[in-house]
Assembly symmetry: C2
Homo-oligomer: 194 residues x 2
Amino acid sequence: MRPEPTTSRGRRTREKIVTTAARLMHERGIGGTPLEDVLAESGTGKSQLYHYFGGKQELAVAVLEHQLERVLAAQPSLSDEECTDLRRWRDEVLAAADESGYGNCPLGAFVGQVDDDTELRTTLARLFDRWQDALTTLVRRAQAAGEIPADVSAEHLALTLLTAQQGGTTLSHLHGSPEALAGSLDDVLARVSR
Amino acid sequence: MRPEPTTSRGRRTREKIVTTAARLMHERGIGGTPLEDVLAESGTGKSQLYHYFGGKQELAVAVLEHQLERVLAAQPSLSDEECTDLRRWRDEVLAAADESGYGNCPLGAFVGQVDDDTELRTTLARLFDRWQDALTTLVRRAQAAGEIPADVSAEHLALTLLTAQQGGTTLSHLHGSPEALAGSLDDVLARVSR
């Protein structure tokens, strides 16, 4: 990955390229998004894009990182060191799903698109690990506050919650309704709540 | 949809077209699979394909139906009226996932690919409903046999199990390991087992 731009104008240009590519790749897939479309829709030139990215793969890495940042920004409970309430996280997940009209998960939509590309696959797994680690940290805070039993494995509960979020988002997208997502998250939380 | 072929040769040709299209569309997406590729890889001619299918959309409907049949064939506990054991279903799901090298769900992989096509989206939702209904029926048999408490909602448990299967398959695919899928199904089952 090339160095970050140092001027605010450079940062804006790079950001416009990444957000446009993220929108297109989320809608049409990485394979269905030629660089020409990114250039046309972001109104940037080829030389600008190649100034910031070595090519499509480097741009896709930046897109995946951008998608995780979007996910984490919509789940402030994860980074709030005061938060010990898993239901706040659950409400944030539901609110973001509702706001997107029960769209695909910004990050999960890319699973299965990167099977043939070791670098992208490794990047995506690493980003999911960051998400899961943040959720594990929230679970530990909830345990320290006595809201979740101490004998529950925080890593396992975080993985189960992320699995419920992924499957629930898929089925809520399919049906265009919150039922699958809300129901599966609530089931996991009911099992560990005091 | 056109009438089914009446000769065994016709059925074989139609089946070869559908299984080839299913493999390509599962690997590359519906949008990433031109009819030309289906013709080339199945070794059939354009006139044969148009004899059985009005076009790509009709072929895609047949592919989605074929994918559900594959899923149900790998989960014989659902149609076995003697089966009252949700763990047998869980073992079948895990065995199929292992056999595919933790690939994408044959049916779930298409969620999000059909947003702009009302007929395909309706078809996919209907096929998921059939899967969920079969799972609800298995839950009811387990309840009748006293293996699951009678006060559990069979529909809700079936949706929660399907959500765990979808999310678990996604994360097991990402990590290339059974942990997410096995862990999330076991968690749901542990909650309702006696």
